[in-house]
Amino acid sequence: SLRCGDDVTVCCKRDFYIKFKDIQWHDWIIAPEGYHMNYCMGQCPQHLSGSPGIASSFHATVFSQLKVNGINTAASSCCVPTERRPLSMVYFNSQHSIVKTDVPDMIVESCGCT
C-alpha cells in the first residue's frame, strides 16, 4: 500500500490526523488525544485494478475473469481501504458518565484498487 505524497497520482493512503485539543473536544474526550481519519485517494488505472485491492471480493474476481478473457470493461477500478482497525475511545457523555467503547473500522491502515 502506498502512502500519498504531495502529488497524488496512483491509489494511496492520505494520512489525516485531528488533535481533539485543536477542535476544543479534549474536554469531553478523555482518550485518545486525536483521531487518525486517514483516507484513500488517487487513480486506479486498469493495469493496477485488483492490486493489492480486495482480491478476495466477488467484485475483484469478476474483474479478473473479464481481464483474463480479454474483455475490455468500461467499468473503472476504485481506490478503497483494504485494512481498517477500531478506534478505542473513553469519553464523557451528557450525564457526565465515562464511557469506553471500541468503534470498529474507524482507522484506515492501507488502501488498494478494487
Binding site: 489525516f16 485531528i18 477542535i23 473536544w25 474536554d27 469531553w28 478523555i30 482518550a31 485518545p32 488525544e33 486525536g34 483521531y35 487518525h36 481519519m37 487513480q43 477500531p86 478506534l87 478505542s88 475511545m89 473513553v90 469519553y91 464523557f92 457523555n93 451528557s94 450525564q95 457526565h96 458518565s97 465515562i98 464511557v99 469506553k100 467503547t101 471500541d102 468503534v103 470498529p104 474507524m106
Partner: protein, 239 residues
C-alpha cells in the same frame, strides 16, 4: 484532476483552497465520530469530576495499557464485532439515616434514547470502606446494598439487592455485583437509579465519605453494556 479539469471527478465538487479543504475534513470527522458514538451533538461538560476520582475509576476499569497512538489495549476488551460500551458513572451522594442505620444514598442518572434497548453484560458497584476504628472488633462487617424506589425513604420502598461480608481490617475498595439490578432498571426505562449502601458499625457507616480525606474515594458504578439488536429490524445474513 482528471484530464485537466480541476476538482473531484466523481463527486463534482470544485477544487478547494487548502484551508477550506482542511475545514471540510474536520467537519466530516466530527460528524463521523458523533454518528458512531450515537450522539446528536458533543456533550457539554458543566461539572467536572474530581480528577483523583476519575483516575481511580479509570485505573479500576482499565487494567490494560495505552498504546502509542492512544488506542487502549484492554485485557477484557469487548469483542469489536458488535459495538459495546463500558460505562463508569459517578453518583450524586447523600448521607441518610434509616432507623438506627447510617447509610449512604447514591443516585445514578441514565438517559436512554427511545427505542434503544440495552443489554447489561456485567455491572458492579465500587465502594470504598474505611477500616474499623475498634481494634478489638471482628475484622469482618456485613455490608448491604438496597434498591430504593423513587420518592421514598421508608423501609417499604427499599429492596435488598446484595449483602456481603467485608474485610475492614484495612481501608479498601469493595465491589458489589449489580448486573441484574441494573438490567431490570434499564428495562423499566427509568432514569434515576437510587441505591443505599449500609456498612453499619455501631451506628457509624464505614462506607460513607465523611472523614475520608480524599475525593478519589467517591463511589462509582461500572457497567459493560451493548446495544441489543432491535428485533423488529429485519436483518439479513449473507452466506
Amino acid at each position: 484532476s482528471v484530464s485537466g479539469s480541476p476538482g473531484c471527478a466523481s463527486c463534482g465538487l470544485p477544487a478547494m483552497e487548502k484551508d477550506e479543504e482542511q475545514r471540510l475534513m474536520i467537519e466530516i470527522a466530527k460528524q463521523q465520530l458523533l454518528d458512531k458514538l450515537h450522539l446528536k451533538e458533543r456533550p457539554n461538560i458543566t461539572q467536572t469530576v474530581p480528577r483523583a476520582a476519575l483516575l481511580t475509576a479509570l485505573r479500576k476499569l482499565h487494567s490494560g495499557r495505552v498504546r502509542q497512538d492512544g488506542t487502549l489495549e484492554l485485557d477484557n476488551s469487548l469483542p469489536t464485532k458488535d459495538q459495546g460500551y463500558e460505562i463508569v458513572s459517578f453518583a450524586d451522594i447523600n448521607e441518610t439515616e434509616n432507623g438506627d442505620e447510617a447509610s449512604l444514598s447514591l443516585t445514578f442518572q441514565f438517559l436512554q434514547e427511545h427505542g434503544q434497548s440495552i443489554q447489561v453484560l456485567q455491572s458492579s458497584l465500587w465502594i470504598y470502606a474505611r477500616s474499623s476504628e475498634d481494634p478489638h472488633r471482628d475484622s469482618r462487617l456485613s455490608a448491604r446494598v438496597y434498591l430504593t424506589a423513587d420518592g421514598g425513604d421508608s423501609d417499604s420502598n427499599r429492596t435488598l439487592v446484595i449483602e456481603k461480608m467485608l474485610e475492614v481490617q484495612e481501608s479498601n475498595w469493595h465491589t458489589f455485583p449489580i448486573t441484574r439490578t441494573l438490567q431490570a432498571f434499564l428495562d423499566g426505562g427509568k432514569h434515576r437509579l437510587r441505591l443505599e449502601v449500609s456498612c453499619d458499625e455501631d451506628g457509624k457507616n464505614l462506607c460513607s465519605l465523611e472523614g475520608s480525606a480524599h475525593t478519589s474515594y467517591q463511589p462509582f458504578l461500572v457497567a459493560q453494556v451493548r446495544l441489543r439488536d432491535n428485533p423488529s429490524k429485519h436483518s439479513l445474513r449473507k452466506r
